[in-house]
Symmetry: D2
Subunit: 150 residues, 4 copies
């Protein structure tokens, strides 16, 4: 297990009109989408996918895992507006045996808008029953994330 919080990945995203609400700002739930999308972009950046169960015959990967969330939170500091260009700085706050806790710093240039946290559990999902069972994080993922968090 290791702990750290320097960003390993930054992802950029514009606030879309459909994400705003009648208060004229990005709806608070949108921030959880930004956080998830940054996490998925990190996986793509590493050459992986967070959800390998695509169409044609589910996953071809022998040991496909999924990453259901068990906890997430967000502190909202300042609102985001339509067309704001947001940056999500993603860091790995905790790398457990079967779980990862990400920390997301969402900002517009130097202004911090929100700070989020998401804990996901590496899981094997029974395709018939949708039952999830926690399992150790695959080695290539552990190795990569640990290398960036010495």
């Amino acid at each position: 297990m290791s702990e750290s919080s320097s960003p390993i990945f930054t992802w950029e995203r514009r606030v879309e009109f459909s994400e705003t609400d009648a208060a004229g700002i990005a709806h608070f739930s949108s921030f959880f989408l930004y956080m998830e999308q940054a996490e998925h972009a990190l996986f793509r950046h590493c050459g992986w996918t967070i959800f390998p169960f695509r169409s044609e015959g589910a996953s071809s990967e022998s040991a496909a895992v999924s990453w259901p969330r068990v906890h997430c939170s967000c502190d909202f500091k300042s609102p985001a507006f339509f067309e704001d260009q947001l940056s999500v700085d993603l860091s790995i706050e905790r790398l457990g045996n079967t779980s990862i806790t990400y920390r997301h710093l969402i900002r517009r240039d130097g202004t911090i808008l929100a700070i989020g946290r998401v804990t996901t559990v590496c899981s094997r999902i029974d395709p018939q029953t949708h039952q999830m069972t926690a399992c150790p994080i695959p080695e290539r993922i552990r190795d990569r994330f640990q290398a960036e968090h010495p």
Copy 2:
């Protein structure tokens, strides 16, 4: 094949805050959600489900079908606001051999806000490949809808 447009089902729905946008009104895409939700409520009202492929081992129904959309449209007449109580009058405009065209009249009391149309095709979906193949509408559905549209 039969054609008609008197409503066979009315579904009520309040505009939620997250569905509004910075223009202070329900985002136009929300109307497509209202239309779909009314269609699903009609199926439940008839004792069916539009999506029988739930968790535990997919469908127990031997001849489970799904209803992908092939076309939908909406004419927007007047905006909807947060907490508006909407009614969706659902009628079956066309009952084909493998497809159904619904017409949705979305109103706030007597004020028509939007008129939508959705064409769905009764399909068998290969659970492995996600490939969809059109198939005849099940008899119980055809019988029920035809009875209401003599």
Copy 3:
């Protein structure tokens, strides 16, 4: 200030198809919508509205306030599926001078699916600048919530 956590309001809600994701379950962000919708339903139940700045010339209320979120979190225990009938038990965990912390227990019958928390700050919003300033919770709201949490 008072603290408590017995539910003062229960709100029912069905999982809509558009809220599910490719994992076959309600997307985690949907739970934040359910939580917010329950809070808004509580306000309506009390004869209020959480957002009085509707269309025709903003609010007619002289002292209209809004309730931006400053923190929210959710612990996910078990997934929700399409057409599940959910109950959200809403309790007021903390009634501060300018803020309210709600606790949401989201369940399908007796099965707890998620436990959420939302802290909102009673705010006056400058309609020109969108600047928010915290202000004391209106008396009728404080009185009502305190009466239910002796």
Copy 4:
């Protein structure tokens, strides 16, 4: 008035996980978001914004207009999956006096997934009453779009 349908702008967008549904594909309503986002990106590309009524004191533009939709439709040809890289080819099908009809061809490389149409009306919106009144399309917009559609 002029009619054409060669694309004037192409916009790229990845399918996000939250946009998929339990059928394992992008929910049909997501396509309307992609279409709107492409339209907004076109405006940004031209140095404009589709919604100039941002926070600080609404618009500084003396003649700010908005673009409510009066009609939209979509024909669905083939499903989109999580992480698909989509291209939206945007063309102006009709440039009227007060309205624009866009045509959106949504594809994954050479595979056409959907064809959409959106008609928006150039409108002045009363900030007090939210009442919309159609008005002539601003000259700089007309000139630019006509130049690209001789």
